[in-house]
Symmetry: C2
Subunit: 346 residues, 2 copies
């Protein structure tokens, strides 16, 4: 066991304070990682504030982890000391169900082990990346290509794969008319990744405030959803819509923006059930779908894709003692577009 | 113009009375049809009772039409006098939009012309098949194979194609774990068609009352949804679920019955928006989709498939003056499984 510094929440105020946690000694299949940077994801905030159920306190959030390997177990073959590596939302899964064997560990039938607030194989509660180090099974560690700086790589481990996976699954490419709802941490990755795949990208944002950014990041079109004409003008004009907004929207209006056989994918999970009228689905064979992060092999493919196409998030690097203020700014949508904690300051 | 007997509703009570309507002289591309049988679809009842908006009264419903050709226009090449033919939910579409050119006339961008309560090309309001004769553009008339009796063929034109099209689109076959929600007019066709395609068919019905029927029609499994254990037992066990129930269900519970990448297709359109929780979609990349009848070529394919596989609906043939009582019985789910009006009694 080793003791490392971390930032943890102790109750549902979600306020984070500095503390220490224990990390296990690396087992034969484990990789020990010196965490360099960790991204702040909206899920971290939902979880520590008990908005998705009461978590196990004290809880260290963080599942956008980028660092350097400091030790490996005797059986480890995929990583070596000094490698730049990443850990995302999962640190384990059953490995033998139909999802795991298909490379869809995120949909493990026996429940993937999430990076924080989950029960690990040894019975302990997992603690996330707002800390100086972590020990993870080698199969849940991915290689970060050298051309990607670690601070910018961190948000790819959740925000990046969350957008990359549905873009691949629903086959976004040169013929795809793609809309991204919301230009935040997730949405701005959707714009960049979609554009890199060759799609014709439209941003649907509440206002035109971030329009200049959106076009610079790769969108060809930008519309304000507060303007009701947007919904008339864009009717039946998209093949794929990725919704990154977790507030409940008027989904019927957005579904009508899909062409025949189009799909709207929910990525920002709203707290309350969505109200979905049946006619917009039936009258053009449209689909409302969900997607959750991506598999491990697909996460590696995403990192390689980002290195090859020079796709990285827009980030604001902060010191750890700024994290509570950063949370407030995330909730106020006042970040362009992802906070990343420099963990040397923890 | 010719005057023919028909049954029409005059107000939103939906009560049908005998009347006469005018049919146009066949134009060069038209087919005149002596209607022999017409099925009673739940949509007829929704429409005449103004549950989907106030229709144009007086209104003759009926879009499951089977009959014999009595005359054809000079340019007609697809049908000839004496042919057994059918007409379903559409009698026209624009013919040039991306949907029409793809054989998806039901999703015509300019709005397909429905068989009743729609504005026809000549500005008149279309009147349906609860009548002795109808005149329809040849492209919206399909051939009924000789081996299908006309009374049993009638319901295939709506109930049949409504199930056949999604089964084909979502590729139901020998590997498909298929569930049908509701064993009514639509549902019983889903069981028969799904079984004929080789799928492993499960019926999900409120109770086990119709279990014997369901198994006889081709289902391998039958569960009562009033039993909460059903939802535990069947979790993640279907690839495709077709929902034929138009009442609002607890969709989250049904979505959880889908395996990873499974799809639940809404066929019975509920009046109120559906409440859809996001987690069941996200946690297994499930989809909620809609589908509406099928294209004309696909309708012909369905009739040929039914002839080849000896798939026909279970029907109760009635005289026209029983129609109002039949409506009451449809609303009480007291029909096994489709009423068909013998139009010689109109």
């Amino acid at each position: 066991m080793s003791t490392v510094s971390a930032y943890a929440a102790s109750d549902k105020t979600g306020h984070l304070t500095k503390t220490t946690i224990e990390r296990r000694e690396p087992g034969p299949h484990d990789v020990a990682i010196d965490i360099k940077f960790v991204g702040i994801c909206h899920s971290d905030i939902h979880t520590v504030k008990a908005e998705w159920g009461t978590p196990n306190y004290p809880l260290v959030p963080g599942h956008e982890i980028a660092g350097v390997v400091t030790a490996v177990g005797a059986e480890v073959s995929k990583h070596k000391v000094g490698d730049h590596v990443g850990v995302g939302c999962m640190v384990n899964s059953c490995g033998h169900c139909s999802s795991c064997t298909a490379g869809l560990e995120q949909y493990c039938k026996n429940g993937a082990t999430f990076t924080y607030n989950a029960t690990d194989k040894d019975g302990t509660i997992t603690q996330g990346g707002y800390s100086q180090a972590v020990v993870v099974d080698e199969n849940f560690v991915v290689q970060i290509p050298d051309s990607l700086p670690l601070d910018k790589a961190a948000p790819l481990l959740c925000a990046g794969i969350t957008l990359f996976s549905p873009l691949r699954h629903w086959q976004a490419g040169a013929d795809t008319r793609l809309a991204i709802i919301g230009l935040g941490g997730l949405g701005h990755m959707g714009v960049k990744l979609g554009a890199a795949m060759g799609a014709d990208v439209t941003v649907l944002s509440q206002s035109l405030k971030k329009m200049e950014d959106g076009l610079r990041l790769g969108a060809k079109h930008y519309y304000a959803t507060a303007d009701r004409d947007t919904f008339k003008k864009l009717r039946s004009s998209f093949d794929l819509i990725l919704n990154t907004v977790s507030a409940n929207l008027n989904l019927g209006a957005y579904l009508n923006l899909l062409d025949v056989d189009g799909t709207l994918v929910e990525l920002g999970i709203p707290e309350h059930p969505m109200e979905v009228p049946a006619f917009p689905l039936a009258l053009a064979r449209r689909s409302l779908s969900g997607s959750n992060i991506g598999g491990i092999a697909e996460t590696q493919e995403m990192l390689n894709f980002c290195a090859e196409h020079d796709v990285t998030p827009e980030i604001e690097v902060i010191a750890a003692d700024y994290v509570n203020e950063a949370y407030e700014r995330v909730l106020a949508s006042d970040v362009r577009y992802r906070f990343v904690i420099d963990t040397s300051t923890i």
